[in-house]
Symmetry: C2
Subunit: 239 residues, 2 copies
Amino acid sequence: MLSKSQIKLITSLKQKKYRLQHGFFVVEGLKTIAELLDSELELYQLFTTESFGDKSEKEVIITAAELKKISFLTTPNKALALFRIPEPKIIQAEGLVVALDDVRDPGNLGTIIRLCDWFGVKDLVCSKNTVDCFNPKVIQATMGSITRVNVSYLELENFLQKQTIPVFGAFMEGENVYRSALPKQGVLVMGNEANGISEIIENVITQKVSIPRFGDLQATESLNVATATAILLSEFKRS
Amino acid sequence: MLSKSQIKLITSLKQKKYRLQHGFFVVEGLKTIAELLDSELELYQLFTTESFGDKSEKEVIITAAELKKISFLTTPNKALALFRIPEPKIIQAEGLVVALDDVRDPGNLGTIIRLCDWFGVKDLVCSKNTVDCFNPKVIQATMGSITRVNVSYLELENFLQKQTIPVFGAFMEGENVYRSALPKQGVLVMGNEANGISEIIENVITQKVSIPRFGDLQATESLNVATATAILLSEFKRS
């Protein structure tokens, strides 16, 4: 049974300001919830149509109709959980670090977090205007990778200026990435969906790289930021 | 001014059966419409809040409120056009061909069409259960690439059986793609989001390839089909 105040709390968590105020984020779907339960993250409450068994003190059994009321999905998936937003971790900056300059689309951020997980990138640093990684659409797209990638929000220019390792940036007119020497340690900066990397950040980049276009002259003018990240991470890691 | 029958026609085109029945598909946004006007595709009608000037006989000037009624987007973008669905073109099968085995997500198909355009892949062949490329969400995600990539729907098993060029398939357990010899000519098969490549299609694949995972053992269990396509196309083309 769901109370009105629970419904109000959960639906408010769609917005970043209420996530910050309450300190919780929403996760949906049995598989992703199970992965998060298995991580360091702290469960606050679990609303589910079928008991998980061992979470009884935090578990609220609800009906499918109640789940529909609180779910952010078009097709709700049996359970919805509130987890506590963890304290930011220290950035290790070991190996390759990915940095995002104002990536705005939740699906893109979610896909990039999943790519970082796949390619063993431990730290993802984001400019303050990058979409919040606890946005429900981001969480949905990460498929549990959020538990294994350390996402930090910071003053990106300042962070990059302090780095002693090379700072790579993805540009339309950079050096052909297939012919670039790519080190094991470095930062790879990816830009905003519409505007690419901002001028301020461009100034602190030490090497511009670019994915060559093989189509004819009329071909698509840019790659989506998530697919470009996929190709560049693959290039850094393949060697 | 919009008539009731125009509204009914346009909103029906969200569904494949009405697209097939009427022979039209919907394109939204000034930039994508301009790109399609510049292609071989035939404009049927243009509904716009500002005149395009040279399309007067096919143009209907509408208000922003009217656009909101017919648009499939949350934030409608000044114009919506109906184009005629073109006749299928002959598959050239030159260079690299991409084949999709039941890819269901419109965003994934749109991204893959855009990737084909970027990497100079002329032919994309799809199993009959792959999402329709004239689905409005696919068209939106392609950003105009639909005019430069020839998308065909066919009996995939039969098509692949007839090929004399090598048929590659993306699997979780294939040969490390970074160590595979990749020819200039071949077919690359990508599978369904949840189930991968089906058994029937697996039987006609001559070489299984796989993108190595660099994260730790707990890392994400698979890559999204669009990001995996990005990495594999990059591998085929980089050499």
